[in-house]
Amino acid sequence: MATTVNPAVSGVGYRRWSFHVVLYAAGVAAGALVSYAAVYAAYAALTYRLPQWTWLAVALPFVALVVLRDLGARVRVPYPERTQVPEWLRHVLPPGLVAVAYGAHLGIGFLTRFTYSTHLAFVVALPLVGSHATVAGLVVLFALAKTIVVVTSLGGRSYREFEQRILARHRTGTAKQTLLRFANAAVATASAAAVAVAILG
């Protein structure tokens, strides 16, 4: 898990851990750019001769599928839902490279279970932004937001203390997590509608 980018797990000091956090964020950004490259290639191939709105016609049904999943419907989504970042990497790579590898894995997004409808909507909307420079800025925003959980997992130098703090900070009820899924579904839906209106103009 990304929370293992942590001094209590790697044994490094806080200064080096701060560097690992930067490496993790860079990994997330790189992974997100890989997803963008794949999606942009599909978008460019589709819209080479067809109008831009055809991309919405192709992408939005997938977003709707994951929105329904967020709302509790039992639907199958087109990416793995029960995998985690490869834990064995922590035993073969130094902590800095683990941070980059975990970041990249999670930045790609569709290789693990931690993906809401907003993530899919984010990726399929990127080709519509119209500027690679702006896309780069948006990817950095995504990477920074995804790094929050790493920073908030900081909990002392002993593993026992880290574990207790993680359990305390992530102690929450099912209702809150359900509300979060619904909020993601609402934001994905609202954003998809706004983007569609902007494109169809």
């Binding site: 937001a145 908030t152 026992r160």
Partner: protein, 64 residues
């Protein structure tokens, strides 16, 4: 000797870090952000994608 970390779990830093990752905090941000963009009748794509980026990234602290 076992280290008693219970007092540390209620320190101001712990409370702040817990608030930063609380689902309600993320939901509140998503609601305010969406309302602000909708009220401002933002017609460009990038601001909405920025909202998606922030909500998606922040929400990933929790498993869907």
């Amino acid at each position: 000797m076992a280290v008693d970390v219970q007092p540390a779990l209620t320190s101001p830093a712990d409370r702040l870090l817990r608030l930063a990752v609380d689902p309600i905090t993320i939901v509140a941000f998503a609601a305010v952000g969406s309302a602000a963009l909708a009220a401002g009748q933002v017609g460009q794509v990038a601001p909405w994608v920025a909202l998606l980026a922030l909500v998606a990234g922040w929400s990933s602290a929790w498993s869907p």
